[in-house]
């Protein structure tokens, strides 16, 4: 990652640091989500303009994640549409006490993508599509903010043990169940469970510390 040099960049880094000091519970700092939560409250009351703004903010993360899991652009578009409609339909069920608006939407997105990929009968095809460490520079979105996220996530992933990293990326980006992950990595079921759990904890700590 290049060292930021422009004054504008420096200011935003400093602001970012202030806004997201390490958190005692080790979870990543909260995103600036209050805006989204306010929008979601309007959407829950049927405000279509608010939904349009919400779409602009969430469709990139949702589509990116769904596409990461499904690979196929046409199917990914279809599932993104279903997810965004579900956000519209169930906006009133969002409970800010239980996580951010982004997490809520992305949880819906991931569940949908995983449901879709597991219902695919052609699992042989998937085997070929999924690299052991499915994370490449091509995935990085173009906006500065997303690049910073991606860089930080990549760095923190590299800080995990190989097994932790592979288990997490196969499960999350690959949409594999943990027994499938165990068989791909040729390790015991219990090992995968604990590696995913410990790896996520460590990843959360790293993301909380380094932002």
């Amino acid at each position: 990652m290049t060292i930021p040099t422009g004054p504008r960049h420096r200011i935003s880094r400093a602001e970012a640091r202030d806004a997201s000091a390490p958190r005692p519970d080790g979870s990543p700092p909260p995103r600036d989500d209050t805006d989204l939560e306010r929008l979601l409250a309007l959407v829950a009351r049927g405000d279509q303009d608010a939904f349009e703004t919400l779409y602009d903010k969430l469709s990139g993360p949702v589509y990116g994640l769904v596409r990461k899991v499904l690979r196929d652009p046409a199917q990914s578009e279809e599932v993104t549409q279903e997810v965004m409609l579900e956000v519209w339909r169930a906006a009133s069920r969002f409970d800010p006490g239980r996580g951010s608006a982004t997490t809520w939407a992305l949880t819906i997105a991931h569940r949908r993508a995983v449901d879709r990929v597991r219902s695919e009968s052609a699992s042989a095809e998937r085997e070929q599509r999924s690299a052991p460490f499915p994370f490449s520079v091509d995935d990085v979105a173009e906006t500065v903010e997303a690049s910073m996220d991606a860089e930080q996530v990549r760095r923190c992933l590299e800080g995990l043990t190989e097994l932790q990293r592979e288990a997490i990326t196969l499960a999350y980006y690959g949409g594999f169940s943990y027994p499938q992950v165990a068989s791909k990595l040729e390790v015991a079921l219990g090992t995968v469970k604990t590696r995913i759990r410990d790896g996520l904890m460590r990843l959360g700590n790293c993301l909380g510390r380094s932002s």
Binding site: F51, T80, L85, G99, H110, D139, A141, V153, D198, L200
Partner: protein, 252 residues
């Protein structure tokens, strides 16, 4: 017992990444309902997963936006969960996941509210019609409230979008559309439940208001795996006479 509990607890990570199968997920969710520490772990790990997702953010094709906005405009929303129902559900036996997690289900107590919301979509003129609509709306609300309710949408080849909410448990489907082209007086859009080699008539779409058709409830959703819409002579037919302007594959 303690060993069992510790082992269930270890599933928190796999749960947060959707890496459990349905049976294990339900088992973990039962555990989650009475384990605040696990709920906190899951909250934290879900937030970490969000960072993994943000790192692969990619803008979708621009044309998707118009489709989603049009479909949303035709899709009824869930009412807020009433406080009493939330409490009952959270402690009741039916709850299988923390309620901020996406689930298409809503409490049975919310059905009345859902009926009112759906009702608002429909224009009514007479008491008699109102009564009939009320009955229909209760059936619609039951589909919206079904634990297995799913949503799907598709574009028509003639323009416009259709959205369905369906429940296999209720064996019913709600069909709405927006932006379908207007038809001459002697034609009507007819809805079909399609399965291999058969097309079962599932109702006529009402006249659109502001380009949207009011929800149509189709029962008998058993073996159909697709929904189709054709243009037919006024009054409809018992089997399709034209090429469908829309065919939507239903979710499993």
């Amino acid at each position: 017992m303690r060993l069992f509990s510790r082992r269930v607890h270890e599933l928190a990570g796999a749960y947060a990444l959707d890496a459990l199968d349905d049976a294990e997920r339900e088992r973990f969710e039962r555990h989650l309902a009475r384990c605040p520490a696990c709920a906190e772990d899951v909250r934290r790990m879900a937030s970490t997963a969000t960072a993994l997702a943000m790192a692969v953010s990619t803008e979708p094709p621009p044309e998707l936006k118009a489709r989603v906005l049009a479909a949303a405009a035709a899709t009824p929303q869930l009412p807020p969960r009433p406080a009493a129902a939330t409490a009952g559900i959270r402690h009741g036996r039916r709850v299988t996941r923390p309620d901020w997690f996406p689930r298409l289900a809503l409490g049975v107590a919310a059905v009345g509210v859902a009926a009112a919301v759906v009702l608002a979509v429909v224009t009514v003129s007479t008491q008699d019609r109102l009564d009939r609509l009320q009955t229909q709306n209760q059936a619609i609300a039951a589909v919206l409230a079904a634990p297995d309710a799913q949503i799907a949408s598709a574009a028509s080849s003639k323009g416009g979008t259709a959205t369905v909410v369906l429940s296999y448990a209720e064996q019913k489907m709600i069909f709405t559309s927006t932006g379908l082209p207007a038809l001459p007086d002697n034609k009507v859009y007819e809805l079909w439940l399609l399965s291999t080699g058969s097309a079962q008539p599932a109702g006529l779409l009402p006249e659109p208001t502001d380009g949207k058709t009011a929800p149509v409830l189709a029962a008998g959703l058993t073996s159909a795996d697709k929904v189709g819409v054709t243009v037919e002579p006024a009054g409809g037919t018992s089997s399709p006479t034209t090429t469908p302007i829309l065919v939507m594959t239903l979710p499993d």
